[in-house]
Each structure stands twice: as structure tokens, then as C-alpha cells.
Symmetry: C2
Subunit: 239 residues, 2 copies
Amino acid sequence: MSPKRAQSGDAVPGGVWLREPRPASRAPALTRERIVAAAVEVLDQGGAEGLSMRRLADALDVHATSLYWHVSHRDDLLDLALDAVFGEVAASGGASGSWRADVAAFMGGLRAALLRHPWSAALAVSRPLLGPNALAHSESVYAALARAGLAGLDLRAGAAAVSTFVIGSVAAEAAWRHPGAAAARAAVNDHLRGSADRYPTLAAHAVTGEEDWATHFTRGADAFLHGLAVLGADRPEQG
Amino acid sequence: MSPKRAQSGDAVPGGVWLREPRPASRAPALTRERIVAAAVEVLDQGGAEGLSMRRLADALDVHATSLYWHVSHRDDLLDLALDAVFGEVAASGGASGSWRADVAAFMGGLRAALLRHPWSAALAVSRPLLGPNALAHSESVYAALARAGLAGLDLRAGAAAVSTFVIGSVAAEAAWRHPGAAAARAAVNDHLRGSADRYPTLAAHAVTGEEDWATHFTRGADAFLHGLAVLGADRPEQG
DNA sequence: ACCTGAACACCGTTCAAGT
DNA sequence: ACCTGAACACCGTTCAAGT
């Protein structure tokens, strides 16, 4: 628990033999990679608000203030951890012939990675995604949409919309995946049914048992990709 | 600054005249409405992380612990403030004849309200939107999409996608609207141009001066609504 | 019913000091 | 170069007490 190592030997006679020699290569105990890996683990267990500098330091058997040598804010930690999640997205090559199938695959891959780390989607909406892994993913989407005929502002809008849709969907899904979500959903259904006069359409159509998030997602993505295809066909060249 | 009122009179002779009589109607100093209004103001000034119980209490000339009589967590405050933002969305009636025009109007109205309170979109992605104003907005969207021919799972997926797109877009936009965003954007552009080997498509197409968020948004929304129209036409009836 | 005040167990971050 | 330890200015939340 408390970070201690045998360093300053007490004056015990013959104590040399009991002490480790100073390591020759002096490899730093902490590295960015170790810190980020530990941060992802802590985040997986306790969510974003469970990641404190002290708790992370504890997990690394180190003092909280030591982290500041490798990282300048807590926010940096979050950004690094988030990019690590983007790094888990299967690269899945690229040109399969159909840009639409490629983009759908990218979206599905990102969704899977974000779902594996339920804290990540909520974070991704509000932070600029500029890490190397996030950029690599962006590059793939841009390339596929360019093949669809999008360019300039349309291309940027399309790519942004794709990310926004995936990340936003997972964030919503993750918000409903906590323990006790079933009870919460039942309470919502009761509330809607009881307010059928104020929310008639919701009472009739929004009430549901366990939602099927996966087809929810693919169906929305389908609609979306269809719209993008039309956008590409409508404006074949544009700066 | 510090919350004080003349209550317990010191034993000054004739001091009765100097003290206010105990107010007859004993109206509570704090109400939920006052608290929420103040919270929105504090959030507008300092963002989500600038809202602390103590700071909010200060703004209301009250002790921090007094807030807990009216509200049970800080999270409640955030949810209430968020629903207040949804309350700012112009109701804009409904049936204009074209469901698509109606949904586009709802999306634009929500975007405007969220942009007025830059902290709100990032919050909206990760919290269930169950306040009365959020539900009223949902009801409008559901009703319009039902007129488009969507039903059952398609309707829920479509409505969720509409909200997700709007809220996610504003969150991204808000993240780029801080002071110094221009410098940040320039740095990003430099970085992308310098990494043209790794991100060729980004270097060619993602680099831009000041982004035009509004047309960015409407173009994405257009593509999206087009896809939803197809979804409605493809599956005219479905539970 | 509504507000105060003290208290508890935390936070992120700094900075001088050690090795 | 890298880590420690003390310190500062905060946090959310509880609970008994006042009126």
C-alpha cells in the first residue's frame, strides 16, 4: 500500500548483505506507459470520477506527487487513457471495395472499443481527439468518405457526424448500463405511462422492456450512411 | 459574501426598534427555482467544474449545507440545470405539414439553446434526459418521426439518433469555443501538415481555418434526415 | 420546516528537498 | 533525472443543533 523501498540502510552490522545494491541501469520506476495502463485499469473499475491522483499512485505503489513528473495535469491522464482506447480499435485494413461497408466496420469497431471502457465515450464527446490513435482512426474514416465522393466542408461534416454518432450513441448506452438500470427503466416506463396526456407519443412508442442497443445502433448508422451516400452523389466536387 | 442576517438581537436598550420583526409569512429563503437559476448562472460563468456547493451557496448568500435541504446531491443540481436549458428551446408549435421541416426546426432550436450554455451539451450526453422539458422535446421529435412513417424500434432508434447528433455536435463545437481555440486550431493544422505521411487524407482535407459550425451542422442534419426518410419509406409498418 | 456550524474524508497541485 | 513529503486551498456530504 504505502510506497516504500529499502533504500537507506540502517546501521546494522553486516547489513550490506541485506541490502540490494543500487541498480546499475537506474531504470525509472515510472513510465508514461505504465501510468497510462494503470489509469485505464482504475478508470475501468471506478469510472472517471474514481480516478484520483492518489488512488492511481497507490495502484502504482508510488506517491501521488510523483505522477507530476510524467504528466502535467489530471486531464492529461484522461486524454492519454482515452487515446489508449482508440488504440484498441481493430485496424481492419481498409479498402474492401465498398466505402460504405468500410465506414460501417469502423463505426462498429469504435463502438466495441468504447463499450469495453464505459467511461470513455462520455469523455470523448467533450475532448478534442488528437492522440495518434484517434487521428489514425479519423484518417481511415476520412479516406473512406473521400472515396464516397465527399470533399471539403462536406467531408469534414460527414466525418465529424460519423464520430459524433458513434460516440454519442455509446455514451447514451453506457449511461443505461449501470447496475440497477433495469429498475430505472421500469420507473421511467411507469412515469411515461402515467403522463400519457402530456407525452402521448412517448407513452405509446417509447415504452419498452430491455432495449436492443446493437440493432438500435446499426439501424441508426444505416440511415446515416444512406444520407451520406446521397450527399456524396449530390455534390461530387466541392472545395 | 458571508451569509448573515440580523436575527438574534444583542441586549441593546431600545433595540427592539432597530430589529426587524419576525416576518409573518416565513417564506423560505431558498427555493428550488432560485437555486436552479443561480446554478445555471454559475455554470455559465465557470462551467461544470466551476459549480461547487460552496460557490453556489455563496451566490445565494447562504451556507453550503443549506442546499441539501432542497436537493440531495450535486448531481441533482446538474440535472435540474440541464432541464432548464431544455426549457429554453422554443416550443415552435408542431405540425407545419412537413415532418422533415419540423424535425429540422427542433434540432436547430435545441442546438441554439445548448450553445447558449456551453457546459450543457457535454452534460447531456452522459445523463438520462428525463426532466419535464427534455421529455416535452422528445415528445415533439417522436411525434414528427411517427408522421414520417417510423414505428417501434425504428422510431426509437431514429429519435435517439436525432438527439445524439444534435447534442454530440454541440459538445464538439463547444469544446472548440474556448479562448485560445484559434491558436489550438493552428497548432493542430501544423501537426497534421507535418504528419502528412501518417495522415495523408487528414493533411489534405481536415486542415482548415475557422470552421463554419452552422453549415457543418445543417449539412450533417440534412444527410441524416434524408436517411431517416428512407428508413420510414422502407419499413412503413413495424412494431 | 428550514437553515447553521462543525466536522470528516477526501481532492489537485506546488515546491523545496532528497538521492 | 526522478521521486518524496509537507503543505495549500479547496472539495461533497453528514449530522446534531438551532429557530
